[in-house]
């Protein structure tokens, strides 16, 4: 009937390689293209919020500049945060679907599966960020930025996405299931509200403004705003990078350790 060779292989390598990771990146990119509803939501949500902030609340908020200019960097971070955090749901689904056990019983790199999810998150965010920027420009976002400024702003947003995605991966691994993990994306969605993303921090009541001053979104928002609008960046750039690199390392280490954990 068939000539399928079933002779046991005794020479299988006990360690993973780069090819594993690439194959798993391919897997997650494919999955993303088959979850267009999720991708669409990750774009629609920030666009709707952008329109609402600009046209509904915009007139009432004193930001010291055109509100659309003030709010676009914040919306970009909200887009990025939400897009990254849905990775927690993807990872948790892999675990409940049992496929994670299959991966864990194979001689592959511990981080490969998760790197796949992170790479797909970066790709999805590139698409949604580009769309949000496009719409922002259409409704009058007036950037005062050189190509280099744009590049730096996009680089920082990418770093922010990577950091949040690795945190999301770790959360997805410890979450009891996709529902619990989706609570995380909801929480991340609110993170920018208590920061300088949508309103100036000094306009907030004192309790909130001290939270906002410590919120990692604040230095990132201030830096992106500074780069795109030519306002002073000051020490916020260094703080933003420190926060993002720190979160990225914490997420990466936690995810790697938790992934191989045998209970």
């Amino acid at each position: 009937m068939t000539t399928l060779d079933l002779t046991p292989r005794v020479d299988q390598s006990p360690t993973g390689n780069l090819g594993d990771t690439l194959a798993l990146v391919g897997r997650c990119l494919r999955r993303s293209t088959r979850q267009l509803d999720t991708l669409l939501l990750a774009v629609m949500l920030p666009v709707m919020l952008l329109l609402m902030f600009v046209y509904v609340f915009g007139g009432a908020i004193q930001s010291g500049m055109d509100y659309v200019d003030f709010v676009v960097p914040g919306i970009l971070l909200l887009t990025a945060g939400y897009g990254a955090s849905t990775t927690a749901v993807d990872v948790a689904s892999d675990i409940t679907a049992g496929i994670m056990d299959r991966f864990r019983s194979m001689p592959i790199r511990a981080t490969g599966v998760m790197t796949g999810h992170v790479a797909a998150s970066m790709a999805r965010n590139a698409v949604s960020t580009a769309l949000v920027i496009g719409i922002a420009l259409l409704i009058g976002f007036d950037a005062q930025a050189s190509a280099l400024d744009w590049l730096a702003a996009i680089g920082l947003i990418a770093l922010y996405v990577a950091a949040l995605t690795w945190i999301a991966v770790a959360i997805g691994v410890v979450a009891s299931g996709p529902e619990a993990a989706s609570g995380f994306s909801f929480a991340i969605l609110f993170l920018p509200y208590v920061s300088s993303a949508f309103v100036p921090v000094d306009s907030m009541p004192s309790v909130l403004s001290s939270i906002a001053a410590w919120n990692p979104v604040t230095p990132v928002a201030d830096t992106v705003r500074g780069l795109l609008l030519g306002t002073p960046v000051g020490s916020s750039a260094a703080q933003a990078i420190a926060w993002c690199v720190g979160l990225l390392l914490v997420g990466w280490v936690a995810a790697s350790v938790l992934f191989r954990r045998q209970r």
Partner: protein, 305 residues
């Protein structure tokens, strides 16, 4: 004698106060098929997950292909292939994409990585569905894809946790045939099952586990003979009657001659040897396939003794 390819000694595992594995010992020789048979909650899946490096044992030693599962998990993973109790495939990918992915992750050579997915889809009767996302598959189709994925890497040890649950009789026979081929090619198989027929058909040796210990092991035939002798079963209008026999032609002839002389009206008769069902009931005090009452046959056998 060569060293066993799977060796488990004094394996213990508990979750909080619940002791799941309570000093389990097991040895599987290279090329052997061992069936782990046990009721729900006996610890079959837990054993399988420890063997596959997914769980850490509390105590005891477990080696697979000569490597300790805790100290050299990578080496163990390179030697085994696991099909868990529930299908582990990517729902959003097609069947073909799933197998291609697994082929790449199994580090197969270029040619094999290209040809094996198609050959396995064919073998498991999934060629027509190969380009459809797995979420459109039936339960049995998913299961077959899952099994195909495990055979991609040509493992030394194939670990199958209830492989035929959810398969129709034809797919089950097909799977048994493939497993037979793999064994003839030198693969060692450790499978768990609740189907006694499966253990009987596939396994060289059966280990009955209950409450986390092996309570009996041996060939299906030797287990059966532990439980009792063969008997002639007579179905009459008033019920079923059993008469012990050594199974020889002479003895059966003598019994049937007796029956005829006494003028008993017999609807049908048969020579029966104990089934694994009987073995199970005798050893564990409960029927093998949970949720079903013990077969009348098994219950009566107990009453006779």
């Amino acid at each position: 004698m060569t060293a066993p390819i799977i060796a488990v000694q004094g394996l213990r595992k508990s979750y909080g106060d619940v002791t799941v594995l309570d000093g389990l010992d097991l040895e599987v020789a290279r090329g052997e098929v061992l069936a782990l048979l046990g009721p729900n909650g006996a610890g079959k899946t837990t054993t399988v997950r420890i063997l596959s490096t997914l769980l850490r044992p509390d105590a005891g030693t477990v080696t697979v292909a000569g490597y300790d599962v805790v100290r050299s998990p990578g080496r163990v993973r390179a030697a085994i292939s696991l099909t868990g109790q529930f299908a582990a495939v990517d729902e959003l990918l097609t069947g073909e994409e799933n197998l291609r992915l697994m082929a790449r992750l199994s580090h197969l050579g270029r040619t094999e990585a290209r040809t094996r997915p198609a050959a396995l889809l064919e073998l498991f009767d999934l060629t027509d569905a190969a380009r459809r996302p797995v979420k459109t598959y039936s339960g049995g189709m998913r299961r077959r894809l899952d099994l195909a994925a495990s055979l991609l890497s040509r493992p030394q040890v194939l670990v199958l946790d209830e492989p035929t649950t959810g398969l129709d009789p034809r797919s089950r026979n097909d799977l048994w045939a493939v497993i037979g081929d793999a064994v003839r090619a030198g693969t060692t198989v450790l499978l768990t099952t609740q189907y006694l027929e499966e253990a009987d058909q596939l396994a060289d040796r059966v280990a009955v586990i209950d409450h986390g210990r092996v309570i009996a092991s041996g060939t299906a035939a030797s287990l059966k003979s532990q439980v009792g002798a063969a008997h002639v079963e007579l179905t009459t209008a008033t019920g079923i009657e059993r008469i012990e026999t050594d199974g020889s032609v002479g003895d059966v002839h003598r019994i049937l001659g007796d029956v005829e002389r006494r003028g008993l009206l017999v609807d049908s008769w048969a020579v029966r040897t104990p089934t694994l069902d009987d073995v199970f009931l005798t050893l564990t005090g409960q029927p093998a396939e949970p949720g079903q009452p013990a077969t009348t046959e098994a219950r009566e056998l107990q009453e006779i003794r």
